[in-house]
Subunit: 419 residues, 2 copies
């Protein structure tokens, strides 16, 4: 056994033991821990910034680009954001122990479901050290133990946050090992973590698509993942024009670098000539580059021809591909084949089309007359999210506290036996 194997095994054993205690922790202790961690982060802001400065310095020496350095930075605002996030999680209802659907059966037994933690959750993430606090907070509240493996470029920052988390857990009388942050930057640690079926119940990778694909391909532990967000807005021939324009502009330009931004606009051919030139003007005024199908280019000046690749691309940038379709069925087929099963919207006033679109679009969020930007744990009322799952198994769409739990059956009897 290598040193890394032995180290990861010890983390796994610690986590398993802590998970057993965490699953029984009452909501009061968990909230106390969350608040104590938040206080420790506030009190330790200077230490955290000093450790973060080491990471930033090393990053600059390694020649990390400006975007990466920005994500790596923990300034006062971001530190306050971490502690405020934890206080918000403390205010959320605790899903653990909830009993639903208790119903009698003909045998006289009463069957229901009780919500319980998953156990041990492994989180693998890249440069943003604030994920350490966010992810730890959600896993803690849902009664799970966590093993966090952040990016090597953020190792000092993550360890500084980890120290605050340990302090808070201990202050609340919960096991310090309920949240463990991997202390080595050796990449072999990731390989061990994602195959530690004995110790880890689920892996949640957060970061770029290539990281997530690699983990998903190599893991033997189940993975809840978010791949890309190629989101669509389809403007139907029965769309309200004002709603269509508002939604399309909001879905594309509210923020560019987010997974729930629109990347492709589909427009019914019957209304394209009426809507597209106007809409294009608004996009261009906001600096959005337009790439269209042949018909679109015929309607809009300043639109370059889209290639086949455009329909399968998550730009995360002020670029929009536009395609004119014959009818809703063609729009649905395009979405299901070129989209990423993330979030897609129809704009229409037609009742039957609404029903068809909701049913036929195979995405984690299917919307009617609303901006794709709403696909988000806070907007959905989950309070916070660990990510947005583009998988179908277990959790689909924004994953909050409930997605970090499972349900077991409970059976209440009065001495019943099976005949």
């Amino acid at each position: 056994m290598t040193d890394i194997q032995a180290y990861m095994q010890s983390l796994g054993e610690n986590a398993r033991a802590a998970a057993e205690q965490m699953s029984l922790a009452d909501v009061h202790s968990k909230n106390e821990a969350l608040l104590a961690i938040a206080d420790a982060i506030d009190a330790g802001a200077d230490t955290i910034k000093a450790e973060n400065a080491k990471d930033l310095q090393a990053g600059r020496e390694k020649g990390l680009d400006a975007a990466l350095l920005d994500r790596l930075e923990l300034n006062d605002d971001r530190i306050a954001g971490m502690s405020e996030g934890l206080r918000q999680i403390a205010r959320l209802p605790d899903p653990v122990g909830d009993i639903t659907d208790l119903a009698f059966r003909p045998s006289g037994i009463q069957i229901g479901k009780m919500r319980v933690p998953l156990g041990v959750i492994g989180i693998i993430y890249e440069s943003r050290p604030n994920v350490t606090a966010d992810a730890a907070g959600l896993c803690l509240k849902s009664g799970n133990a966590t093993i966090l493996r952040g990016g090597s470029e953020a190792i000092h920052s993550n360890q500084a946050v980890a120290a605050c988390i340990r302090d808070g857990l201990t202050a609340a009388g919960l096991p310090a090992n309920a949240v463990q942050v991997v202390e080595t930057t050796d990449r072999a640690a990731v390989g061990e973590l994602i195959c530690a079926k004995q110790y880890v119940d689920v892996i949640i990778p957060r970061g770029g698509k290539s990281l997530i694909e690699r983990i998903s391909n190599e893991a033997t532990v189940p993975v809840i993942k978010h791949l890309d967000g190629i989101c669509h807005v389809y403007i139907d021939d029965r769309a309200d024009k004002a709603k269509a324009c508002d939604i399309a502009i909001n879905a594309k330009t509210h923020r560019y670098g987010v997974c729930n931004a629109m990347e492709t606009l589909l427009v019914n051919k019957a209304v394209a000539a009426d809507i597209l030139p106007e809409l294009a003007k608004a996009f261009i005024a906001k600096g959005v580059e337009l790439r269209g199908c042949e018909q679109t280019c015929a309607l809009i000046d300043d639109c370059v021809a889209a290639t086949d690749e455009d329909w399968d691309t998550e730009y995360l940038a002020p670029i929009l591909s536009i395609k004119i379709v014959d009818d809703m069925m063609q729009a649905i087929a395009h979405i299901n084949h070129h989209g990423s099963h993330h979030t897609d919207t129809i704009v229409t006033e037609d009742y039957s089309k609404v029903r068809q679109f909701l049913r036929a679009v195979d995405s984690s969020s299917v919307m009617v007359n609303a901006s794709t930007r709403f696909a988000d744990g806070f907007e959905y009322g989950l309070g916070a999210e660990i990510g947005i799952s583009t998988d179908k198994l277990h959790a689909r769409g924004p994953v909050g506290l409930e997605g970090l739990t499972s349900q077991k059956y409970i059976v209440l009897g009065d001495g019943q036996i099976r005949e």
Copy 2:
């Protein structure tokens, strides 16, 4: 690409295309198909028996043991069982399209969840050819496409049933590829199926523990699995003696070879002397071999000393291990560490202990004053089950139609955009 790879890829492509149609199939067509398959099986009983006879003959020549040959046999009763099972599935409510939890958010959008099929389900099973009809029926009703890979010893029987399934699907206007039964006995087909992430959304293995462990270790497609059933009954010091005896005897002796039978009896030391000798007599009268801890052996004649291995063994036989414990906490610790997280029962009249036991026992079914034998899809009101999951992710406990589906978010708006 080998021939097997190409063949399995073609099955995958067929299944993906069929899944898209199946996800939109209305309940009427799905029920029509189920009934048509049932009719085809009844009408084809002679052909099925003739094909089954080939498998039985080959099995005898290969020297399969009597138990395996029994599981392989399709007689009139079992054929009628298959078609009746399909008719029962037709009578179950269709979960697909169900919308729940539609609620308004402060932004004015309305969020809910719609139940949708998982997509393509791969089923890998061993000698029992009736699984072909059962599994196909459940996957069909839940709107999924299925690729079934049965045991090589049942290849003729499975293909005969597959022909009936194809006929029924076609008669109802559904794609024949919605259910595909692998036609090769080459083991490489299993390896391809469990790693075909592009085509298969989930693998459900059914069979012995070694098959399931192998598949679970090698699969990159997510697996819903059932490992073993080491179920416990704990008789508390506050137990009603009559209920305790009834439940213990029923849990052990109602059927021996099933996963929800009791394998270990835990008895509180305060009541052991009162209950155990009487209970032991009843077990011995039914031919159950008793293996006990030291204290148990001191109380019961005809009880052999249990070894450490006994506490971790699923006998599936008229053998019972018995341990006397100091208190409920020791019983819970024993269950969580030696059990298989399947089904465990406490017998007690104590309210606070009930609450603690329900919360602390980490099993897919946790029971109070009821026989473990109730852990079953029919008894729980699911109508039918594809298996009992001992996993925590996605589905835990008996898995019926709902476990073969997922939920996507739907968002209904009136033109809302994100501010």
